[in-house]
Amino acid sequence: MIALLIRDLRQATRAGGGFGLALAFFLIVTVLVPFGVGPESAVLARIAPGVLWVGALLACLLSLDRIFALDFEDGSLDLLATAPIPMEAVVVIKALAHWLVTGVPLTLAAPALGVLLNLPQGGYGWLVLTLALGTPALSMIGTFGAALTVGLKRGGLLLSLLVLPLYVPTLIFGAEALTRGLAGLSNATPLLMLAGITFGVIAILPFAAAAAIRINLR
């Protein structure tokens, strides 16, 4: 399992692996928003939490179809299916690798982009915390979507259509926890819900995703 994780990480960070793509996309989205809504600091500070969360979510979405597609094309997914480790473990490792190459860099880069959007003082801790709690759920849900569409030609658009409604609860609780934290309100409930979604998703979706991959490899 560790070998598989190292292999996935190595492939992702190699040239053409799309490692920086999500980060660059996140940067572009956050830079474009002020051009769209105008440069007033108060407005930007008001919408910064939502923009940062939506930007991170879209950046996650961008690299989802790579999770299984390359392995499916060159046949290594078939080898993984016959390997001694269960398919569920493969799915978890794939999601973990996706999180390490997109979720973690996004979380770490978010405060810098928060400065661009004039995120108020005191929000940076909450920003990192909510993203760190929420991005694993984004990766896991996305892995499930990728597993559903792995055998399809041009599955990218369908993947977005399937995954976006599934992202709604994570987005709501993540952005809500951040907004309330910024305003100095108690945000324990949305934080707990966000953590609950993340852990629940990690507990349940590997089975659904593994079943989908087995069906697609049939």
Binding site: F144, L148, T149, G151, L152, G155, L158, L161, L162, L164, P165, L166, V168, P169, I172, F173, E176, T189, P190, M193, I197, I204, L205, A208, A211, A212, I215, N216, R218
Partner: protein
Amino acid sequence: MSLWEYANPKKFMQTSQVLLPYFAVLAAVCLVIGLVWGFFFTTDDYRQGATVKIIYLHVPAAMMAINAWVMMLITSLVWLVRRHHVSALAAKAAAPIGLVMTLIALITGAVWGQPMWGTWWVWDPRLTSFLILFLFYLGYIALWEAVENPDTAADLTSILCLVGSVFALLSRYAVNFWNQGLHQGASLSLDEETNVHNEYYLPLLFCIAGFVLLFVALVLLRTRTEIRSRRIQAIMARERLG
């Protein structure tokens, strides 16, 4: 004699052929009674005027939008557990109907909301969860269309339906938490004291019955179509071999 006999496509075709006209006629009768009674023989509400009559379309459509998804969930489970093709095809047949019902509920709601709330759309929990439900239907139908092998498509869409149900419920509670709404609470419950007045309640019951029957008739019709198209494909495949 058990329910599972109807999993046999031949048996299902025979029975549904007999039942379909009854459901269709009953649906038409109920809808005509409910709508004519509701539209022409009830008084206008003293605050809402004639716009109150949109509930005869809005409420039944909204109920069927949710119930269609529940039906798809059950038939998907039956397909995953017992591998009855009729079940998978019924889920496939119900999805576009559910989609249209969701759309009817959203559009009639917007038409009502414009004069009443002064806006076509607000990010109210109920409205938002229906929009999300709409997206779920779209994704489900798109997945059916995208996968070529029918058995693979049935399996994948069933899994999506199961996972989607969990997330649809979760979204419902998430949007409730996220924003307090303008939409009124339930007023048709059987166990509550204050419900909508009988004058509106009785024709509404006819409309709901009519929508349920209409849904059943449409699902039967569409499932029969799916079974026939599956048979045609089988015949064509056999001819190509032979």
